[in-house]
Symmetry: none
């Protein structure tokens, strides 16, 4: 931060204030790989390039590392989703498309993908984690999306649907896509291809699976 210290090449960045962040990076990788319970503090330390004891200089417990990890990651994501939600005013389908594509782009970065994976995996064991995530992310995003849908209905862009339940129809397919890939290794050939999933999903989400009646009539005639 300071003018003299700045960022003087990677060689001189040892022992900087970035230490806690390096611990979090290491912990994230390991929590994803093996889970919270099966990750030893010593592993985290080793991967972060410092000693076991040093971890406790920055965090009072292993659990605190997990909490800090989640806190660090979720706020920016929620913020940028909310930003997009607020910036656009017209056809909500445009906004939904933008947000889903933004999400798809972000989640293609494994470092970011790691966070929801971690949260979904560990949240049952750490109620504070659930509360934090709810407070910081869910309780801010859901009302915004619900409002978006409600306005879309009011303005005639969308059919009459339950805004709250419809959120599941908008986000759920992404979650399942990621879950299938991460938990069972089931994904399109060559990778997640989240962009293709979003394309396919948006076309169904907006226009439905059903063939247009006219089309059917045409082909039948």
């Amino acid at each position: 931060m300071n003018e003299i210290e700045k960022d003087r090449g990677p060689k001189f960045r040892r022992r900087a204030e970035a230490r806690p962040d390096e611990v979090l990076d290491a912990a994230l990788a390991l929590f994803i790989e093996k889970g919270f319970a099966a990750t030893r503090v010593e592993d985290i330390a080793k991967r972060a390039g410092l000693s076991k004891g040093a971890v406790y200089l920055y965090f009072p417990s292993k659990e605190a590392v997990l909490e800090a990890l989640v806190r660090r990651a979720i706020v920016p994501i929620a913020d940028s989703a909310l930003q997009t939600l607020h910036d656009y005013e017209g056809d909500p389908r445009i906004v939904i498309g933008l947000v889903l594509n933004m999400l798809a782009a972000r989640l293609s970065d494994p470092r970011i993908l790691a966070m929801p994976k971690l949260i979904f995996r560990e949240v049952l064991g750490f109620p504070e984690l659930a509360q934090m995530y709810r407070r910081e992310v869910i309780d801010r995003v859901i009302p915004a999306v619900e409002g978006l849908i409600r306005r879309g209905i009011d303005q005639g862009y969308l059919r009459q649907v339950d805004p709250s339940l419809t959120i599941r129809s908008i986000i759920g397919p992404l979650l399942l896509h990621v879950a299938m890939a991460e938990l069972f290794g089931i994904m399109p050939e060559g990778g997640l291809h989240l962009d293709k999933l979003v394309d396919n999903h948006l076309s169904i989400l907006f226009d439905g699976l059903s063939a247009p009646p006219s089309a059917k009539t045409w082909s039948a005639s």
Copy 2:
């Protein structure tokens, strides 16, 4: 059940062939509540009404309890879904509706809901679990659904979509609904109401979120 025998303390129950099942029931409850790693074998035993050592009469290890648990639960579910998939031939939307409603009904039973919760939570730590689930459930259900969609497209019921990716659009919303409720306690007032979710989801899935063009025209004029 008998008035005299009733449930008079655990000491006098011998040669109950239901023992392994009682252990599994106890383990399921605890694994869900606290996770596999944080559940002690002694907890399982106590809840099943026997001693720590007795658990090892029926299962060679704690991990074996988990595997048996999953095996016991998943096959029937997959079977009945496949049954429905095979029994109907015409409009695939009917079949999809039937299967989703069947799923909704089943998952309303907490004992059944517990299984996917458990699997999703622990599968990262137990590759064998993932393989078993894949083999027994996923690899049987996915091809059946893909075939259903493909035939629906060929017969003019459905629009041109990617059958494989579309599976995510069909199932994903249920997963998210359950996840929100179970992980963060976010659900409609008064309960999961999976039936309402499925209603809302099916209407979007088949007909899309977009208001019909004529409607828009009308409202705009």
Copy 3:
């Protein structure tokens, strides 16, 4: 023992009073194979063809099985060695040769070989075992052999040696031969060949390793 019971074919010997002996046979085999500590009572029971609980009808504890085992085996061996020691009066070398050859013949039977193996292995952990073995075997055999040697010296058959220490020179080579074979698998090709060992050993024991002085002279001239 009784005229009627006798030994009426193997078919009718089930549930006879031989039960405890069958337990001991099974225990012996397993104690040899895996040691006392690593042998489970259930293994003994299974091998003896009865249930775990039945073992406790005959023996109050696992340790009691070991003691009974040793007691059963050692007395006859000591008896027959003592018999031979007492029966001969003249040249003690004849007696020593007879006894060693008798020992060699007996120890070629794995069932008999098992006992000293077992005793040597477990005696450190069971002082009572040591006492029993000492009382029943060692304290009867050693004085007899010492007396034999002493008389041999007095009668001019043997050189002046320490009778007590000489016992080690007489028996030690057999012990080492068996130990090398049993512990490390080091033995003559094709088996223990205890008879050959005894031949070689007796010739050294009586006449010494050294070449006769005259022979040396001859070969040198």
Copy 4:
């Protein structure tokens, strides 16, 4: 050693590089006393002046302690025996006498005596131990001794005997002497007196138990 540091309780000793050796010393004493199976890791730790967990800082398992123990002890002994065997060229009886006296001197140290006791006791349960002992000791010593005997025969020092079997006659008496003392408490008054045993044994080994024929004649006449 230093007057101020002395041995002021276990709490203030840190970074002692001798730790693993202290653990081995403690383990040796206990394994001898109670056997491997009956010795708890906590006992070892307590005797070494540290905590249960600390043992696992130095050795990955209790079994590894045993292996390290044996490895530490046997190589020097085998080495010095081989040294003696190789250094002398002439009359093999001289070499045999030197080696046996060297062995006697060494085994008078209880710390060294403990090792063969331990190995003989536990080797049946740990095949790796047997292999290690064979590789490091037996397979190096036996060929050397066999060669010595063979050369002694060729050069006219020794009678025609089986070199391989004769090894038993050379070493066996020492083994039995030690075994009787350690297992049953049978030994000359006042201690092992291995030197006296070796004296008596060597005289028999080289010259035989039999009285010289001339002597017999003399005494008879």
